[in-house]
């Protein structure tokens, strides 16, 4: 799980690049002010669940930074959000590989992703220190809840779909 081989590096790089490429897709949730579904986020939890916490961390951290860079917001302007994405991928990967071995892989993927999102994005409360959120109430209602709601929906739906597509191929490749 903690080995960093050429396979780890290439999968991490592919995941981060895919995140950057697919970050253009966003689906607004009707009736909410600032909650949108980011399908690209499912790649963070999928790569974490499928290839381990190191890959999940890299895909979230570097993928989000690159997506910010492509949009113009800047590589480090919201570094804490990139780290939060990375933590979500890390926790999802760690949980799937160490806590839920031997269970249904699709359920495992959904549960690990949900745990990763809920815990990993607690890091966005650092916005209070950075001044992006004025106080705890703003950080909770404007940052944490919108991102967790949106990413939970995305991760719980799309991660199992990606795992279901990957598992037979992984077995046929002998990985």
């Amino acid at each position: 799980m903690w080995d960093v081989s050429s396979r780890t590096i290439v999968y991490a790089a592919i995941g981060a690049a895919l995140y950057g490429v697919t970050a253009q897709f966003q689906i607004a949730l009707p009736g909410t002010a600032n909650v949108s579904l980011r399908p690209s986020f499912a790649l963070v939890t999928f790569f974490g669940v499928a290839f381990g916490p190191i890959v999940g961390l890299f895909v979230g951290l570097v993928g989000n930074a690159i997506a910010d860079q492509i949009s113009g917001w800047g590589l480090l302007t919201s570094w804490n959000w990139s780290l939060a994405n990375g933590l979500a991928g890390f926790i999802a990967g760690w949980w799937a590989m160490s806590m839920m071995q031997g269970q249904n892989k699709l359920v495992n993927a959904a549960v690990a992703s949900a745990i990763g999102v809920v815990i990993g994005f607690l890091f966005v409360f650092t916005d209070i220190w950075l001044g992006t959120a004025e106080n705890f109430g703003v950080a909770m209602s404007d940052n944490y809840i919108p991102v967790v709601v949106g990413d939970l929906i995305v991760a719980v739906i799309l991660t199992p779909i990606l795992v279901a597509a990957w598992e037979p191929i992984r077995e046929s490749m002998g990985r």
Partner: protein, 283 residues
């Protein structure tokens, strides 16, 4: 879909700097800027950031869409912070505010403090974005890996960052090809019906083939790296980086800025300061 790095500032003064300077200067500036709420400090900092940005000679026409996105995002941050806090910002209570008028319905006070706060946020995030642009547009894409490696990022991680940028154009092409192929079969993602969750589920025909193809196709890259003994010893980089005198001066200036701002912040000199000109006179 253009996600490949664009080297728009090629040949500019900033592009000739050691690329590590661009990363370190940005990090120092971001850490300094987040501590400052005093316009008297932030304004010269923002001017310095603007001059830094200008030295990268990034053509306005090529990045105006990026700036529009930034303006929208900063506006959003200002709006939610001012409205959701009811105008009580940076420790100011309503009794301390110099109120101009109240918003209808919400009754949020629009005050001198709020205007100052909005200006600070605008300058802060605008200048941070200006400092970040040169990394995207004035750093040679091939320098990204060596830069992070020479910043003592573990070489495997630095190589992964380098590889990420190399994969971007080909994966963007794969994504476009898949979208076109699915369109021929009658699937158009932006016209899929069924509400947000339904649209999300129906994203599978696009996301799954691109992701799985990329992973399966990565075997060639992994084999190539293994055959060349990647990871068996310390990696060296063909591109050599060396700080010049100007690089060190520039870097020193930003490190000094960070130290001075941190000292001022610790002694309470960076709090929100409201200019007299914004305070309404009685009568």
């Amino acid at each position: 879909m253009n996600v490949a790095p664009r080297y728009l500032g090629r040949g500019s003064w900033l592009a000739r700097r050691d690329p590590r300077v661009l990363i370190l200067a940005l990090a120092a500036y971001v850490l300094a800027a987040v501590q400052v709420w005093d316009l008297r400090l932030l304004t010269p900092m923002a001017v310095a950031a603007l001059l830094y940005y200008r030295s990268a000679q990034i053509p306005w026409r090529a990045v105006r869409a990026n700036w529009a996105y930034i303006a929208f995002f900063i506006g959003f941050i200002i709006l939610v912070n001012t409205v959701l806090t009811g105008g009580e910002l940076r420790g100011f209570k309503e009794a301390d505010l110099h109120i101009y008028f109240r918003l209808p319905l919400l009754s949020t006070p629009i005050s001198a403090e709020m205007v100052t706060y909005a200006t600070v946020q605008l300058l802060r995030f605008g200048s941070m974005a200006a400092m970040g642009f040169p990394i995207a547009f004035a750093m040679a894409p091939g320098d990204i890996g060596p830069t992070f490696a020479r910043l003592r990022v573990p070489y495997k991680f630095a190589y992964a960052i380098d590889l990420t940028f190399r994969f971007l154009p080909s994966l963007a092409t794969d994504m476009q090809t898949t979208m076109d192929a699915q369109r021929i079969r009658g699937y158009e993602w932006d016209r899929v019906k069924g509400g947000p969750v339904g649209r999300l589920r129906k994203l599978g025909p696009l996301l799954v083939p691109v992701t799985i193809n990329a992973i399966v196709g990565a075997e060639d890259t992994i084999d190539a790296m293994d055959l060349r003994g990647f990871g068996t010893g310390r990696r060296t980089w063909l591109r050599q980086l060396a700080y010049g005198r100007v690089d060190l001066l520039l870097l020193g200036a930003y490190v000094l800025l960070l130290l001075v701002i941190t000292a001022l912040s610790l002694t309470g000199h960076t709090r929100l300061w409201v200019p007299d000109v914004l305070i309404p006179r009685p009568g």
